[in-house]
Point group: C2
Chain length 337, copies 2
């Protein structure tokens, strides 16, 4: 056990590169800038998901543009030269912002949340976009919109962003005019029209938690149906494939920032899909890196091809467990006695 | 106006046949056997969706097998020779059964509902299946499962159905051993694996209300996000296309029983998809039939081909409205002054 910890630590400064030379960038998901040292300590290259909700929680007033700017700038500077992907406010659903008057909703997960909320509260949204753009003058910054359901919503975000850029230019506020804009793919509709969305943005990041939840119509927080929440459901594999294929054809980056990215057993599958960026909680990075460094991308491609033929999540899971334990007993086999 | 009513009435005994000879069967959605005369009066050929929930509502005890059997038999006999599609209990979500102890759920629409509920309450489920199967001895009966999310769930239903059939055989209870088994396609996952599901069942019926809701992650009952509930969203058109293509390849029937089926403006699109069965509230049948009898299937195919190229629901809607008003001013044009 101690040996494994040492081994994991030794990976910190090594790239997440497969035995056949396929490079994957592993990044951290964070909520606070205080988590940055842990990301660096675990060998994370940049932030794949900064959840800005924390800034808005447990306070009587939303943070000002200036306050947000300082937090974002601080983070961006600390990560130089690696990028920081800042996700705009993702409230609603399971999250909660007391000072924002959220209506009672029968199904909050399918309600006024995330980018829908931002597009309604435009003053707040523009403030956040201004703060992020201003931070982009200080280091590599990316903007990511959550819960985009289609092209129309993305274009509304783009229009607002253009407005904000024009304002900043007029005020002579510096910002990175080439800042990359991306979206979370977490609604089934976004996966289904990924090819259209790929024309509108610089990158995708698949948010598996919500994508799985909506695809299967299963609230994973509901104990009565949690058994139906299956990351390896054939429909989920196909949805992810739609997104990866669309991204590849359009020549944009496709990453993943949901919990699926942090599960070492899934790493071969994600290699098979062709992901080049995975973002996860810092503590999970070494274990995923360990798997990636010990297998080839080709194994992932072969495994995925087999998995895509199976009709149920149960069979996909069993195949993965058995096949991986057989191919890589050191990593996935039963613990030696 | 009176003239239109007369015209609509004159269609009652005519088939819903396009000008190029494509036949569509129009059926009724009902909750009570008392609605059968209205279905027949409006020219409906059979019942495409009998919602059995009504039998379970507002009472202290669920209905016995015998009580259900009599209701189903009565209905099946009244519709001879047309089929009656009986959907198994679809409670949960927006529905409510007081005597069944439903847990409080944060997002009931993604909770323990429909077939999930039935698979948990197996005694109730078997009782209902027995009642339906016994009714099948008296006329053309079909069984339809709601909210199927994938192959595994369908196989569980099939296994239970086989159990019930074996019991009935042993008891010498007559039933139709060739009764057709189908599923609602209303979760995005079911649409994504429609080809796999097509191997397991005799027919699909697309439930557009829920399919749209889950695909877009929009609770249409929520006024704050109702603007995002768009039947003609490109992702919805693609999901429907996946289902229709899978059904056609497998040689099984694909129908639609959601509200989309009842909108005359959508009829050309549904012809384009190749639907041969549409089920709706009885009162909507004549208007849909009127459109089908005045256009060709080829128009639908051409229109759909154009629609599938458009990136937003807004553009799809505008194209439909303008193109249809232009091609068929009598049906879709502005009212004459
Ligand atoms: Mg999310
Ligand atoms: Mg439904």
């Amino acid at each position: 056990f101690e040996y494994l910890e040492k081994e994991l630590e030794s990976y910190r400064d090594l790239p997440a590169e497969t035995t056949d030379g396929h490079l994957v960038v592993l990044r951290g998901n964070i909520e606070l800038s205080q988590e940055i040292p842990a990301v660096i300590a675990h060998g994370g290259e940049g932030i794949g998901l900064f959840r800005t909700e924390f800034l808005f929680l447990n306070r009587s007033e939303p943070p000002s543009e200036e306050e947000q700017f300082k937090v974002y700038r601080d983070m961006v500077q600390k990560m130089i030269p690696a990028p920081v992907t800042i996700r705009t406010l993702d409230v609603g659903g399971d999250k909660f912002v007391p000072e924002i008057n959220l209506a009672d909703e029968a199904n909050p997960a399918m309600g006024l949340r995330a980018v829908r909320f931002s597009l309604k509260e435009r003053r707040l949204f523009k403030q956040q976009l201004r703060a992020i753009l201003r931070a982009s003058a200080f280091g590599c910054t990316r903007i990511m919109f959550p819960m985009i359901s289609g092209v129309a919503e993305m274009r509304q975000c783009r229009a607002l962003l253009d407005e904000v850029c024009a304002e900043l230019l007029q005020e002579n506020q510096p910002f990175d005019e080439d800042v990359e804009i991306g979206i979370m793919i977490e609604t089934p509709s976004a996966a289904l029209v990924a090819d259209l969305l790929a024309e509108e943005v610089d990158f995708f990041s698949i948010g598996t938690n919500d994508l799985i939840q909506y695809c299967l119509a299963v609230d994973r927080g509901n104990e009565h149906v949690a058994y139906l929440y299956e990351p390896l459901h054939p429909a989920i594999l196909r949805a992810i494939k739609l997104v990866c294929d669309a991204g590849r054809r359009a020549g944009i980056r496709v990453g993943m920032c949901g919990e699926m990215a942090a599960e070492p057993l899934y790493a071969p599958i994600l290699l098979g899909f062709g992901f080049t960026e995975l973002s996860m909680n810092a503590a999970c990075i070494p274990r995923v890196k360990r798997v990636i460094r010990q297998i080839s991308r080709q194994v992932g491609v072969d495994v995925l091809e087999q998995l895509l033929k199976l009709p149920t999540a149960h069979e996909v899971n069993r195949y993965m467990e058995e096949d991986m334990a057989h191919r890589f007993p050191d990593i996935f086999g039963p613990p030696a006695i």
